[in-house]
């Protein structure tokens, strides 16, 4: 007899549900949308870094045949920004420009050449002001404030002092303090920013398809900027060619497309060039970190004392959150008993930074893991032993009140140590070769939403009709990370049905429930849980219906996914029959599921901003990097990476492996070659030749170990999988180079020229000391 059982969807490799469209080229990205009446939107950008706008004359542009609309700040009802407490940006610069490339005006025209001619006809008179391209310049005595309400160009100063740091340092056998400098990096996602906006002039309604990770925020900011009722706007998220954080806030191009469409009373497509996409930025800020750690002879960390200064760019954006994360997430990975932090987020005349994969944590973690690796060497300790001497024991609350309910870092360490052959191979690879390791962690969604409204964190609708298909409606933004697949899996698993029954409709504000968006690795945890909740609610309805039809009590119904029955002897009802019964007297089934975080996860109150860092669960990762260095050219080859990531239950191991490899690879770019560079505020790097994303030639084999330290609150135990593994690569690389060459890099990216300087300095120092000892002899 065939044993009938619920169909399993969780924990087995599943291709992504939107894979076929992408593989066949049928997926529609924002720039792919066409309309016969579509006009071309193009943006005039400031040529100067800091200036008052004396006047903008658009009359000639407006008079040019073929031009349908010209917009400036005068067309904007209000400013915008991702944080309700720091909305100081305008879709088009208002009275003042603060970085080179800031949008000043925009046109919609019949074709691109006309649009460009119109831009050339716009006359803007600027009165230049002193400009500051580094955080130090902007903070210097007498510097002009970029924003009147931000004295000293400080966006936010963060301070905490928890435990007794001074006593901790006094107790240490070794105290070391090192300065670290990390370059600014950009997401460089494959798809340049684009938006396709249609304005229905008769009904005064806007429909927009923006390349965004956060359709809900775009919706809100469009309403605010355009002075429109939110109910008259529809935001449909098309397929997205990557985001990695630069699209976790509304971008000017989204707003400009809306403004132009309304003024042109028609359809406008705005597609930014690669240069404009770089200028829009929202990447990871240049940071200077001073890290001081006390350690005992056995590797126990007694205290951490550190500062961070971030060059935030010209507007607030996510800045306050970024500098808070840079402090708070020193906790949550090791047992840190005392830590002191002072952080400065600085406003400068460069493009605004934003939230980049691993938001806020990456450079702090780089500094910390690099420093303790050097201290381990000094103390004659194995780097693994140092990490193991400082592990947390879950469940616990950290000193800054972060909730840690699940913790697989110990298993991550074991896995990479074994897989890389660390014990047998470390120190025995021969000249110019080395092994380095490091750890990292990341949140599974920020527990406190930015827009605190009392709504749940996530809402899912399921609709079941006479055809017995299940339509899953979600506001969550599928951006290539696999969120739609995870939700389908969660629903299918809960019901025990075949995933093929489920159709996911995502991120269309006219159809799908609101979702905050795809950022801070919140979707799997929060929307996954809401999906389970919705499926359980649906299942209860179906069981009731089955009970009615089978004439038994609901608790006696055995749900086997595609079959509902009263017992083994019962032939049972098919899913279709159960659905038909459930529809009787009810009509189409529409059920809902929600998810909310628990107050214990909301972070602490021990200092101002302590809520940032609060999360339901942390992911953990460890990695080992093996390198070979060419001593003559200082070129580094990464031979192999072993990475273990604790994501709790791996809902889709195939997607987890892809996310972890992608994270490591992105860390590799940041560690080795990627950086933004400016010439008086003009981006020198704003193309794919000078912004050096690794090619496949540099991409090493990355062996992934999935560690499943299930979280009690996670969907089936799952936690974050898409960010945590990025960070560890940076210190693991510098630690490996230190092992290979005896020089420790404290500035990133570690390009061949930077490494050559370190190697030459080492050779000079050795000559000097050889000469000195020669004299003594």
């Amino acid at each position: 007899m065939n044993k009938i059982s619920p169909i399993q969807s969780i924990g087995i490799p599943k291709p992504l549900v939107d894979g076929p469209e992408k593989a066949t080229g049928k997926a529609m990205f924002a720039a792919d949308f066409q309309a016969t009446d579509a006009t071309v939107g193009r943006i005039l950008r400031s040529p100067v870094a800091h200036a008052n706008i004396i006047s903008i004359d658009t009359s000639q542009a407006e008079a040019l045949p073929g031009v349908l609309a010209v917009v400036t700040e005068a067309d904007c009802a209000d400013g915008y920004g991702v944080l309700p407490i720091a909305m100081n940006e305008w879709a088009l610069a208002r009275h003042r420009v603060r970085y080179r490339g800031e949008p000043v005006a925009a046109v919609a025209a019949m074709d691109v050449a006309t649009a460009q001619r119109a831009l050339d006809l716009i006359d803007v008179v600027y009165e230049e002001l002193p400009a500051y391209f580094t955080a130090d310049e902007a903070r210097a005595e007498g510097a002009l404030d970029l924003h009147d309400d931000k004295p000293g160009n400080i966006e936010r100063e963060v301070e905490f002092d928890l435990g007794d740091v001074d006593a901790g340092m006094a107790k240490a056998d070794l105290v070391r303090e090192v300065d670290f400098h990390c370059a600014e990096v950009c997401q460089a996602q494959m798809e340049p920013h684009a938006a396709f906006a249609e304005y229905d002039a008769a009904r005064e309604r806007l429909t927009i398809r923006p390349s965004t990770q956060v359709p809900f925020y775009v919706h809100k900011m469009l309403a605010r900027t355009m002075g429109m009722s939110e109910s008259h706007i529809r935001v449909i998220k098309p397929h997205i060619g990557g985001g990695f954080g630069c699209r976790t806030e509304t971008l000017q191009s989204d707003l400009i497309a809306g403004l132009l469409a309304r003024k042109a009373r028609g359809t406008v497509k705005v597609v930014l060039s690669r240069e404009e996409t770089f200028i829009t930025h929202r990447g990871r800020p240049e940071s200077h970190i001073k890290m001081k750690v006390g350690m005992t002879k056995d590797g126990t960390i007694t205290a951490v004392d550190f500062t961070a200064q971030q060059r935030g760019g010209a507007y607030s954006g996510y800045g306050i959150v970024t500098i808070l994360y840079a402090g708070s997430l020193i906790y949550g990975i090791y047992d840190i008993v005392s830590a002191r932090f002072q952080g400065y987020r600085v406003l400068t005349n460069t493009p605004p930074c934003g939230a980049f994969r691993g938001h806020g944590t990456v450079k702090t973690r780089f500094a910390f893991e690099n420093l303790i690796d050097g201290m381990a060497t000094e103390l004659g300790l194995d780097p693994f032993a140092v990490r193991r001497a400082n592990l947390l024991v879950a469940p616990t609350m950290t000193e800054n009140d972060l909730l840690v309910n699940s913790y697989g870092l110990d298993q991550c360490l074991d896995w990479v140590e074994k897989a890389s052959g660390w014990k047998q191979r470390k120190g025995k690879l021969g000249p110019n070769k080395g092994l380095g390791m490091a750890c990292s962690h990341y949140i599974s969604g920020a527990s406190k939403p930015k827009h605190w409204t009392g709504e749940p964190h996530a809402t899912i609708h399921l609709r079941v009709d006479w055809d017995a298909s299940i339509t899953l409606l979600t506001g969550a933004a599928e951006i290539g990370q696999g969120s739609s697949t995870v939700m389908a899996q969660c629903v299918a698993e809960t019901l025990g049905v075949d995933m093929g029954r489920i159709r996911v409709i995502a991120a269309d504000s006219a159809l799908t429930p609101k979702d905050n968006g795809s950022y801070s690795s919140r979707v799997t945890f929060m929307v996954g849980n809401a999906s389970i909740d919705a499926a359980q609610n649906l299942k209860a309805l179906l069981i009731e219906a089955a009970a009615r039809k089978l004439e038994i009590a609901p608790e006696d119904v055995e749900c086997l996914g595609e079959v509902y029955r009263g017992g083994q002897q019962d032939q049972g009802l098919t899913f279709e029959e159960v659905v038909m019964e459930a529809l009787k007297g009810e009509g189409t089934l529409a059920v809902k599921g929600i998810y909310d975080t628990i107050p214990e996860s909301w972070g602490g109150r021990k200092y101002r901003g302590a809520a940032i860092g609060g999360t339901m669960a942390f992911s953990y990762a460890a990695q080992v990097v093996e390198v070979t260095v060419d001593p003559d050219t200082a070129e580094i080859t990464v031979d192999k990476v072993w990475v273990a990531h604790d994501c709790g239950k791996a809902l889709n191991p195939l997607a987890v492996e892809g996310q972890v490899q992608g994270s490591v690879w992105m860390g590799l770019g940041q560690a080795m070659s990627e950086e933004t560079r400016f010439h008086d505020g003009l981006p020198l790097h704003a193309n794919m030749l000078d912004y050096r994303v690794p090619t496949i030639v540099e991409s090493p084999p990355i062996e992934v170990g999935i560690i499943e330290a299930n979280d009690p609150h996670g969907p089936f135990g799952a936690k974050e999988a898409g960010e945590g593994s990025l960070t560890g690569f940076l210190p693991a690389l510098t630690n490996a180079v230190a092992d290979a060459m005896g020089v420790r890099a404290t500035a990133l990216p570690l390009t061949p020229d930077r490494l050559l300087e370190l190697l030459e300095k080492k050779a000079r120092d050795e000559r000097v000391s050889a000469n000195a000892s020669g004299k003594v002899a």
Binding site: S273, H679, L682, A686, T751, L756
Partner: protein
């Protein structure tokens, strides 16, 4: 990438027709692979109304093995060069250099002529029209200041083709055709040390072929380039080396450089190494000679210091490895 303006495309079948078409249109450019030109057009650096496409000209596609020389049509693709058994046998450095250009897709349509006539490059020049205008342009194009060396009146934009230094090792000649007929000049004479105007081509001239004399006996040659990434990138420094030994002593030594000045060139003063044993000390001296002559300027994001050091290091490594 900025938008491509409308242009007329001409598709001649012969060299003479190409020259006529080019001559007839006031603002016209020859187009082969387009991997350099089209990018520059999108950036507003070039603004031709007419493009004369050379890939339909059969004469320019041939690799001909003569008794004394090998002739390579200027429209031969870089992939064809890299894979040519004939070139690998006779001029290994040329095939290697072609295989090191950019990435595989660029080599599929990039041509020998295009690589030899590549525009010089500089971070202040290879930017969008908006960017260059915001920076008051530069000496090379529409401006009057060199942002690399603001005090001077010389343009330092670097020649960045990979194939030229390799061909220089073999006394290659280029065959040019123009409104006044054909002429043949030494490849070295195709270039001048001026980033603004580095090619000696006269108006309307195009490169038809490259002729490379065969060497009487096989001398080992090789090419290596430094770049941040192992694909796509232009050379931060590119080094071609030819070194022949007789009785364990250096009998022949030439080194060509690219990426470090407005023109590709052969390193001077290497005759002092003839007759010396190529031991570590000798090759370190070779390295130092190369370093001194690789006078890279701040035309790339990677600093000049590194490009000089790495040019020397690559020369040394090549000399150690090619025989």
């Amino acid at each position: 990438m900025e938008y491509l303006p409308e242009m007329h495309l001409h598709n001649p079948a012969t060299v003479e027709e190409a020259i006529r078409l080019h001559d007839a249109a006031p603002a016209s450019r020859y187009l082969a692979g387009g991997s350099d030109l089209l990018v520059n057009i999108r950036r507003g650096i070039e603004q031709p109304d007419h493009l004369v496409y050379l890939n339909g000209i059969a004469e320019m596609h041939a690799i001909t093995d003569g008794p004394d020389q090998i002739s390579i049509g200027a429209a031969v693709t870089l992939r064809e060069l890299a894979e040519s058994v004939l070139l690998r046998e006779h001029f290994a450095a040329v095939a290697q250099a072609a295989g090191e250009v950019a990435g595989p897709s660029h080599r599929e349509y990039g041509t020998l002529g295009g690589n030899l006539c590549l525009d010089t490059r500089c971070v202040f020049y290879n930017q969008s029209e908006w960017w260059r205008a915001a920076n008051n342009y530069c000496l090379k194009y529409r401006g009057d200041t060199c942002h690399v060396a603001p005090a001077g009146k010389k343009c330092f934009a670097a020649f960045s083709g990979d194939v030229a230094p390799a061909l220089l090792l073999f006394d290659a000649e280029v065959e040019l055709a123009g409104p006044d007929g054909r002429r043949r000049i030494a490849l070295m004479d195709l270039y001048r040390n001026d980033g603004m105007d580095h090619l000696t081509l006269t108006s309307g001239e195009l490169m038809v072929a490259v002729h490379v004399p065969k060497m009487p006996s096989a001398i080992p040659t090789g090419y290596a380039k430094s770049r941040v990434r192992g694909s796509i990138d232009f050379p931060l420094a590119g080094v071609a080396v030819r070194m022949g030994l007789q009785d364990q002593l250096i009998a022949d030594l030439r080194i060509g450089l690219t990426g470090v000045s407005p023109l590709p060139f052969l390193v001077r003063g290497l005759e002092t190494f003839i007759g010396r044993r190529p031991d570590d000390a000798c090759l370190e001296e070779v390295r130092d000679v190369v370093r001194r002559q690789a006078k890279a300027m701040k035309t790339t994001l990677t600093p000049p210091h590194y490009r000089r050091r790495v040019a020397g290091a690559l020369a040394q490594k090549l000399a150690e490895s090619i025989f």
